[in-house]
């Protein structure tokens, strides 16, 4: 099974943000908000770091 970088990132972010939200927050509303925040943060940071590394000769 081969996933693209972005697909793997999406699944990873979705699962981790779900668990983090359910563990750290108590009410469903807080859990949803925090889960969305963590999920989007994962994506944003990964995309930002990806573009920062893009010009580097690695």
């Amino acid at each position: 099974m081969t996933l693209s970088h972005f697909e793997a990132l999406l699944i990873f972010a979705l699962v981790v943000s779900t668990v983090f939200a359910l563990i750290t927050k108590n009410t469903p509303r807080e859990q949803f908000r925090y889960g969305v925040f963590v999920f989007l943060s994962f994506l944003a940071v990964a995309l930002a770091v990806g573009w920062i590394m893009y010009p580097l000769p690695l």
Partner: protein
Amino acid sequence: MEETDEQVQASPREEPAEVQPLSMAATLAICSGGWLIPGLGHILLRRWIRGPIFAACVLLMFSLGIAMEGKLYDLQFDEPLHVFAFIANAGAGALYILAGRLNLGIGIMTAPSYDYGTTFLWVCGLLNYLIVLDAFDIAQGRKP
């Protein structure tokens, strides 16, 4: 707005309103069950929604890790850093034991998704440790 929040809090929810601390023996039994079968600790604590969600998350990550040719580490002291990988992998509980019995998680380094699979397997175990700690807090009455 405040009335709405109060109504939401007063409505029947997943968690029971009053949380009675369990004995340490019962807490440890619940945590052991939660480690062995991810999500079981919350189910035993009557968190009917959280438990299955946790179980699904851990199972999904573990399955994907195995499918992506990730590696499961054994306890080997000749490679000290592998001990940390073993601790992370062992967090998956019965899934880790079962995969070892079935000769899964050998890890094919030439596979393009090897690194992702190995990372998924590590994180899946570490998440289950967090889930067990959450069950511990609930059983001790520290959180609803």
